[in-house]
């Protein structure tokens, strides 16, 4: 078995290395984000239903926005 290929992306303005083929859902899980977040890839907003299938690519710029509340 060969080594998993790694790719570089930018996540919330910071460089980040992930496995090639990682989906948005996997990224959220990998980085400990909750599922209820907004995700923008290269400034394009994604629908939530695409998170499990949307594969990230080399040099993608990803913004994960977590709505913050409290009372």
């Amino acid at each position: 078995m060969g080594e998993t290929k790694r790719i570089s992306i930018t996540l919330n303005h910071k460089p980040c290395e992930i496995d090639a083929g990682m989906t948005v859902s996997e990224l959220l899980s990998f980085k400990g984000f909750p599922k209820s977040v907004a995700v923008f890839v290269n400034k394009t907003p994604l629908l939530m239903k695409t998170y499990p299938t949307y594969e990230l690519k080399e040099a993608d710029t990803v913004i994960v926005f977590r709505p913050l509340g409290g009372g």
């Binding site: 209820s36 907004a38 995700v39 400034k43 926005f65 709505p67 913050l68 509340g69 409290g70």
Partner: protein, 629 residues
Amino acid sequence: MVIFPEAKILEIDLTSGTINRKTLPGEIYRLYPGGSALGLYLMMQDYIPGTEALDRGNVLVFSVSPLTGLPISGISRMNVTARSPLTGTAGDSQSGGFIASYLKMNGWDAIVFKGKSQKPVYLVIDGNKAELKDASHLWGKVTGEVESSLQDELGDKNIEVAQIGPAGENLVKYACIINKCSRANGRNGMGAVMGSKNLKAMVVKKGRPMVAADTEAFMALARSSRKRLEENEGVAGLGLNGTDGDLEGFSDSGFLPTRNWKTGYFPEGATNITGTTMYETVLKERDTCYACAVRCKRVVEIPGRVDPVYGGPEYETCAALGSYCGVTDLAEVCEANMLCNMYGMDTISCGATISFAMECFEEGLLTSEQAEGLDLKFGNGAAVNALVKKIALREGLGDLLAEGSARASEKIGGGSEKFSMSVKKQEMPAHMPQYKPAVGLVYAVNPFGADHQSSEHDVFLVMPPDSRERERLSKLGIWKGYDNPYELDAEKVRFALDTQKYFSVLDSLSLCQFVWGPSWELYGPDELLELCRAGLGWETSLYELMMAGERRINMMRQFNAREGFTAADDTLPARLFEPFTDGPAKGIHVDRDAFEAGKKLYYEMAGWDPQTGNPTAATLKKLSLDWLL
């Protein structure tokens, strides 16, 4: 068609000691369907315009709704209404716990207090019986002692007690009303109104459980809470880590009010005082309100220092008594929270007023002599806690700070008014308008001062269109999505106003906004209609509910107009318009032009006079409020 129930009201004249039982016909009750709307309606029947908040002529109303006491999550909120001594506006505050449900189980929708007792008294409600008793022996005692004494005195451990602490007795402008020693009608100084009437406590005995109109449908809705919790990680996280769960996230984003709002970044302390740290260190147990599955309430314990009887701090408390004051030690914050609950003070206004004093001290506007030797530098938690007690007892500098930051700045002078982070003299809660400008707009126009629980927050419009949040919000209106929360445009103004109407009806139906709100919460707008139908047999519509919410806001606004409030009072502190100079949010600020344009548009959308900011005659007539003209 089900006839809307009549409201049953106890009216207590504290001056004469007489108690009357009254009813409000269902056709009127339906216009003001409980909680804040009912309280305001009843208060305005007897309140004479121009009466000062701490005068015996002020009218104090505790109120619930026809839904209160049904066994389902988020159903047990108690409203208190009176003219506010802090803001001078119509005052309003809600609390959780069990007492609201107990009140309804005893058959009552509202308790109206008028006049002033010659000596301290407390009221006991037991079914149709109501009795005023001497409270002289309780005066001066802290809340834990009083609750325990009343349980012994009445021989009943199953009572619920809404009471004031020494702060309310001493007329601290932001004194609150506490039940269960840990749940507060915190805002607007309702505890001072109670103190001004020599009313120490209201005791409610347990009553018969409420029964839904359509038991089967109601139980299906109630039982769905478990599955909903499993599927809603936002609400599940709220239950696990409490309202403080996002505090660190706020700092990481650059929007946690810190050192009297000079910055939004608190890297040196946020991890220490965030909800996950509380969970891992000092949390004794999670507590709940009547019939609620969420269990977001905290009970913390630090042996020898923090008594679990007084619950635990919410997000607002951790911010106001923590980051606002630069305090990095969770134990200090927990102790400050305990002191506020013991003495009966709103943790937001208390913490914010102390942070105001700290900035005055650091800027040389308060001397060491005035501070009576306290080193009021940001970060000194011991000094914060010392000041909490001084404020409650009106000792030394505490006497000045008991008036709130805005009034204190008038005495201190030297330009200190710019350090008062308040709107209509009420200190701002910990959601920064730089991050949530629609919330900021509501801070400004809200009739009873800055409030974070009066509208939905901007951040949910950043969520994808197929998210739960956006799907639910679409029931109230269709809004475009945003790629960040910082903009304030016409869409956001409409969002602010329409969600404000929805939150307003939640405060009227006495429902918890974390359970019944319009976006991320446990139940959404569809389920709210089902709750009204199955719970009460009330075949209502979102239109009727939104109108009820709008009616309440306009009643308050008209109350304020009579007291001389105008558009000039709908402002935000100048600091919010200055860009952050550090942290992840560096450069971000509230755009003044967008804010002013937004305020004007809000007035027009609300049907208010663009010059005065007050409701027009046509708007009042549209809302069946002709009687206010």
